[in-house]
């Protein structure tokens, strides 16, 4: 709640809620050394000598790294031990499934060969140290998305393991996500029934605004919702969803912007459709059929009625809203206190469980 505003907010005391599917659960590295056992010797030497190298100049140190209370007794970094995450979060919060999203830089590597090797190693690490540890984990295939042929090879390598449910992009790839460069990746996703997920943050060197680099971490942390909207606009307008029956999932970008984005795209398209004759429907049609968004960080209007209005404006799009906790990061949304309103129980069940279950084929 925005406690600084005068209006009273609805009570959000702990209440009974359904089992949940956490669509943004982070499996962390204590350090890059966790991945070393999965690297071939040539690249192990490389990483030890030169390290990982992404685009420089966009450094906004995080406010704080993780929830301190999520640190395992071993003292390793929060979220870096599967068994502890199970005990600390999955069990007590009644988590039926947690979708793993590792954030450790494969896609942002400037050295494309390293990008591919690192992605493979991270995926091997996910299988051995997470998926094999608890049947409730599902994972995202880390890919070198700036090198689509290598990304396709990695998708082919993982596709038979059905515990991988989607392919992972960073928040700000080198080009808007609808650009043709990435289409071989979408083709491979369509072939294997995998979804495409973009998680906020991570860039290939462009500023987070259309007006250059901001100054403060606050701006870096508000910006992903604009960044993701541009990805959605790109995937829709370039015709990705005309060609591939894939679903695109926005993670950690909020979701209150979905309606106004649809309105704006539809209005612009009515005037400018001659430029994009490959679109057979109005832009919002593609959003309603292909785009999903996870909740955290939940937008919290200080008047509950606005939240209800937002849900009302979504219409059928409420079936595309997925609960996400962002465990174990500092801005984690507590499943029992995340919503600024009391949701009707049918809607609770949809957002906590049914929507994600239908999307990922989970029971």
């Amino acid at each position: 709640m925005v406690a600084t505003l005068p209006e009273k907010v609805e009570a959000t005391s702990r209440r009974v809620r359904p089992a949940l599917i956490d669509c943004d659960h982070h499996n962390e590295l204590d350090s890059d050394a966790d991945i070393y056992p999965y690297l071939p010797q040539r690249w192990l030497e490389h990483v030890k000598t030169y390290g990982l190298r992404g685009a420089a100049g966009g450094y906004y140190p995080r406010f704080m790294p993780h929830r301190e209370d999520a640190r395992p007794p071993s003292g390793r970094k929060s979220g870096s031990e599967a068994r502890f995450s199970v005990k600390h979060f999955l069990d007590p919060e009644n988590v039926a499934y947690a979708i793993l999203i590792p954030l450790n830089g494969a896609g942002g590597q400037l050295n494309l060969e390293l990008s591919a090797v690192w992605a493979t190693a991270v995926n091997d690490w996910q299988v051995a140290e997470w998926l094999d540890v608890d049947p409730r984990f599902r994972a995202s295939i880390v890919i070198p998305y700036e090198d689509p042929p290598a990304a396709v090879a990695e998708i082919e390598r993982r596709a038979s393991d059905k515990r991988f449910v989607q392919v992972q992009f960073g928040g700000r790839p080198h080009e808007p996500m609808g650009r043709r460069k990435y289409w071989p990746i979408y083709e491979a996703c369509a072939k294997h029934g995998l979804h495409v997920m973009s998680h906020a943050f991570g860039s290939y060197g462009q500023p987070i605004t259309g007006a250059g680099w901001p100054s403060y971490y606050v701006e870096e942390h508000v910006g992903p919702s604009q960044a993701m909207q541009a990805n959605v606009v790109s995937m829709v307008m370039e015709g990705v969803f005309e060609h591939f029956p894939i679903k695109a999932i926005s993670v950690e970008n909020g979701f209150a912007w979905l309606s106004s984005l649809c309105w704006r795209m539809d209005a612009a398209w009515r005037q400018l459709k001659s430029e994009v004759p490959h679109l057979k429907h109005e832009p919002s049609y593609y959003v309603r059929n292909h785009v999903y968004a996870s909740t955290q960080p939940m937008e919290e209007p200080h008047r509950p009625e606005y939240f209800h209005q937002m849900l009302d404006h979504f219409g059928d799009l409420v079936d595309h809203i997925l609960f996400a906790s962002d465990y174990p990061h500092w801005d984690y949304d507590d499943p029992d206190a995340a919503f600024p309103v009391n949701l009707p129980s049918e809607l609770q069940r949809k957002i906590y469980f049914d929507n994600a279950a239908a999307l990922y084929g989970l029971k």
């Binding site: 700000r172 808007p176 462009q206 987070i208 309105w263 209005a267 400018l272 209007p301």
Partner: protein, 366 residues
């Protein structure tokens, strides 16, 4: 033809008249600036390939760039005062309310000029051209000072030069800047704007050279057109976070061609982030939405409306202020929605009047 204001009482006229905050006046051709340029620049334009600013923000034939009938015989849309009088200022079947005051928003792309001497010289020329060709000829018009916004010190100098002219009520800046407007490198510019009691207008487009989206360059103009709302949102984030409104407490900013139905969701997110992270920016002492409501105004057109007017009214309510929106026709650009029929007609008379004229009257102290 009888007009709504013809037999109206003074009160009626006040209710019905509009202040149009977004009328684009366009430099018809570079030669029109010759009387206001030094011999050096006249020769440069005449003898080299340099022809002044390059405007890539509006593809000239795109259906959004010009409404039917807005192209005069001898220049681009928006370049004829006579046509502008006829199509915007006078009541007509297309605009049934008379315009009391029209604010010219010249989007001449000074920021496309990498050569700093050219940028300064052409900004001066455009402003002198505006005085002679528009302000001196039509008392209902006010105008926006065009500046070399990429050079804040030079921009401040130009504001100093012409800022006291009663016809200039604001400074126009491209929303796509090379650094966000809140960045303190821009303080000399905003100091000059605030000192002269002018408004800062952020205008759709810009030529900073960096890409319009956080992922780089999109393929299609329709993407850039839609994505521009995100750039406006980022500028609000920057201006509030950097403390621009704490530094210049009287500063007002007006957004032109931004749309506005995205604003409530942006304020919710921004307020939440501020609540979590405000210790990093302790000068921001109120929720960002409070700064935005106090300092930011938005022209209604192009209206990014839902198909259902009830939803539009919800979003209008979520602004929690009847003072944010100002009327702007965005002439000569073309749009899907008509703000009068599709929006204002559904508001209370009071709220509609504020948008038609009273909010702008307060903003520009008319």
């Amino acid at each position: 033809m009888s007009t709504p204001a013809a037999e109206a009482s003074p009160d009626e006229v006040r209710r019905l008249t509009r202040i149009d905050c977004d009328i684009h006046n366009v430099v018809p051709r570079v030669e029109a600036l010759f009387p206001y340029l030094s011999q050096h620049w006249v020769e440069t334009v005449t003898q080299t390939l340099f022809k002044g600013a390059v405007d890539a923000s509006y593809p000239p034939r795109a259906p959004t760039s010009a409404r039917p009938g807005s192209t005069p015989p001898d220049g681009p849309p928006g370049s004829s005062l006579d046509l502008l009088r006829e199509q915007v200022l006078e009541p007509s079947p297309a605009s049934r309310y008379p315009v009391e005051v029209g604010i010219l928003t010249c989007a001449y792309a000074i920021d496309s000029l990498r050569n700093p001497d050219a940028a300064v010289a052409f900004a001066r020329a455009v402003n002198d051209w505006q005085i002679a060709e528009w302000l001196d000829k039509e008392p209902r018009l006010r105008a926006s000072i065009v500046v070399a916004s990429q050079l804040p010190q030079e921009a401040a100098r130009e504001i100093e030069r012409v800022g006291d002219h009663p016809g200039f009520v604001q400074v126009i800046l491209p929303v796509r800047s090379h650094l966000p407007w809140g960045n303190r490198i821009h303080h000399p510019l905003f100091e000059a704007i605030a000192r002269k009691g002018l408004v800062a207008a952020l205008q759709f487009g810009g030529q900073p050279g960096n890409p319009p989206t956080p992922e780089g360059w999109p393929s299609y103009y329709v993407e850039e057109y839609v994505d521009m709302a995100g750039v406006f949102a980022s500028q609000l984030t920057s201006m509030v976070t950097e403390g621009l409104f704490d530094q210049f407490p009287t500063l007002k900013v007006v957004l032109l061609e931004s749309g506005w139905t995205w604003l409530p969701a942006h304020m919710w997110r921004f307020d939440k982030e501020w609540r979590n992270l405000r210790r990093l920016v302790p000068w921001v002492r109120r929720p960002p939405s409070a700064y935005i409501r106090e300092h930011v105004r938005i022209a209604v057109q192009p209206l990014d409306a839902p198909p259902d007017v009830r939803q539009l009214l919800d979003v209008y309510g979520q602004l929690e202020s009847d003072e944010i929106l100002v009327y702007g026709s965005d002439y000569p650009h073309a749009h899907v929605f008509d703000p009068e029929n599709d929006f204002l007609a559904h508001l209370s008379e009071d709220a509609a009047r504020k948008i038609r004229s009273e909010n702008a009257r307060a903003l520009y102290r008319l």
